[in-house]
């Protein structure tokens, strides 16, 4: 087929359309966005937690998660390290070294400022609300489980045993409650104020006060800067590395790691067709002029 002017213009139009259609690049706004300023958070003070698991129980009840395999009074569960599951949005694990009192660490969705799950979802099934909660919408999910792989905290779980309506499950920060001015069920129920709920910025101030006023605290608020900052934060009197926290997550929000690559895609969509068309024209020219020995070599 000869590449005449009309054909070439058609090709350019196609390339332009392809470039415009490749919308996979971050908008400028998202790089400058500092986060919703009034977003809430939860401060978890590990030194106050007594491992009563009332938080697990409250979460279970408020979310209708069904009776657990072992009751919430049964301390046997502390023998293994548990993770969240489709019937447990939060779990408390026990860490004990000799000569030290046991530390109890509550695990749940960290409600990151720039969540990896939210960025990873190809159907926009997640939402980072102005209240700070990261919530999942059942009506958009195709069940690819990329969110589960993207989460650096291994939080989202899946209803594998549900054949027709399997859901991604995780803590919602009790979004319906906090939207109406309430507090998450776990915070409400905690008898030791190990969990407190308020504006994230104010919680950081409170955490810093506690650290300054009591030298036993480790001088670090976990979640203040990890993976770009999270709404759920921890302070502790024992070293975080010994309590199962990943200290190597860095401070870059995970979605930012994909922006560089995604930005190259529209460039490729626009330049490649032109480059390839150029090669085509050159190779056709060589054939016509007889320079190409492969012309007509085989049927």
């Amino acid at each position: 087929m000869a590449m005449n002017r009309r054909g070439f213009l058609k090709l350019l139009a196609g390339a332009g359309a392809a470039g415009a259609a490749s919308v996979a690049k971050p908008s400028r706004a998202s790089e400058e966005f500092e986060g919703y300023p009034d977003r809430y958070g939860v401060l978890c003070d590990i030194s106050r937690c007594i491992g009563c698991r009332s938080c697990e129980q409250a979460c279970n009840q408020v979310n209708n998660l069904g009776a657990p395999a072992e009751s919430f009074d049964n301390d046997k569960v502390f023998e293994t390290k548990r993770r969240t599951s489709s019937t447990a949005h939060t779990v408390v694990n026990k860490y004990q070294k000799e000569n030290r009192p046991p530390a109890f660490v509550k695990t749940q969705c960290m409600h990151c400022d720039e969540p990896a799950c939210f960025s990873a979802c190809l159907a926009k099934a997640f939402d980072k609300t102005p209240e700070g909660a990261v919530i999942w919408n059942e009506h958009k999910c195709i069940g690819c489980r990329y969110c589960m792989q993207a989460c650096p905290f291994y939080i989202p779980a899946y209803e594998y045993d549900n054949a027709f309506t399997p859901r991604v499950t995780k803590c919602t920060m009790c979004y319906p409650r906090i939207k109406d001015g309430g507090v998450p069920a776990c915070v409400e129920t905690c008898p030791m104020d190990a969990l407190i709920f308020g504006k994230r910025s104010e919680l950081i101030t409170i955490a810093r006060k506690r650290i300054i006023n009591d030298s036993e605290y480790v001088d670090h608020i976990y979640g203040e800067h990890e993976v770009g900052g999270t709404s759920w934060m921890y302070i502790s009197k024992q070293p975080f590395e010994e309590l199962g926290f990943n200290m190597h997550l860095g401070t870059t929000a995970l979605p930012k790691l994909t922006y560089g690559y995604l930005a190259t895609i529209p460039v490729m969509h626009i330049t490649l067709p032109i480059i390839l068309a150029g090669f085509y024209v050159i190779s056709k020219g060589r054939k016509v002029s007889g320079k190409d020995e492969t012309k007509g070599v085989q049927k």
């Binding site: 090709l11 919308v23 939210f118 195709i142 779980a157 899946y158 995604l262 969509h269």
Partner: protein, 405 residues
Amino acid sequence: MSEHTMHTTPREWIRENIFLGKTVGEYIRSLITPFNIIAGAILAVGIPVILYRFLFGLGASTNLSDTNPWGMWLAFDMFFGVAVATGGFIMVVGVYIFGRDDYKSMVRPAILTGFLGYFFAIAGLVIDLGRPWFLPKPFIYFGTASVLFLVAEHLALYLTIQFFEFLPAAVEWLGWRKVRHHLHKIHIALIILGSVLVMGHQSALGAMFLIMPSRLHPLWYSTYIPYLFFASCIAGGLAMLIVESMISHKVFGHQVEASDHEKIHRMTMGLGKAAGYTLFAYFCLKILSMVHGFTWQHLWSGWGAWLGVEVIGFVVLPLWMFTRAVRTDSIKMVRAASIITVLGILVNRFNVVVIGLNWNAPEVYIPHWMEVMGSLTLVTLGVLAFRWVVNRMPVLYRLPEFPDE
């Protein structure tokens, strides 16, 4: 090979072109071959397994878990399948963009391999999804921040393009001249758009892992992972072309003229050379990615030894074999190297998607037998589809009434 005329009745046409000139009874009897018996046994178990997955859910049919949500159907069917189905793209660009007419006879089988490869890779993905009936959702809600969105969009578009690239062969078989003529006109545009899409989704499949630095082992995680995936998919596509051509010409040798065997030798050697170059590029990129990420220190560990096996055994070894084979003009060595390269792509994709991913989590994922069966079934269906098409449509040969463009 059937005699193809324009003036047959529908019944005659069906007998000639569907049943290969036999009566229905004869045709069914001719299907009883050892290969077909094995394939039939696989399907007899595999298709119920796939139905079981849809009726009883992923929990009942896989060993997927909350910590390891991706398993065999993704690692093997989707990631590996897509990586080695690039033969169509390579041939089409080589012949029509770069003008290498000496590979023309390989174009159609390559396009068919590519199309069926992508088709059954996507079938594997659909089986793995939690709610496959919601598959149109991303195309309504546009989660454009997600690399997986890019993959989905590109795969959908590219599969369509591959279908249209293959359509000329089917249309010639059906004898529809006008349609054939129109397809011919959009050929180059399809190829160029398709090439852009291939580079996009092959690299995007690697880029999916950029968001998981703490979950993918540092020896495999790198900001270069999209380029590593693209380079390896080219090597894999070339190797798969050589393997597919090797098998085709044994099984379908009767469709090919005797003189073509010489051409096949030359084309295979040419592809082998290209595969060697690509493997070399991949090897250099891999070294560079480890230097760039300061990850070579992890080489002195069990994981490092395993990476060594992957790179030395499945990249450096076939690279050396290709080089030697080209120098000694040994088609056997090229073919052996190609098989090792294809296996290497398999090992690499499994390392990135299943083995090296979540490497520091307490749980280890081992595929359920149903997952293995499901994958085997999809591969079998692909092979059977390939055979069905090649036995009927002008893929390995050309029809005289449709001149070559």
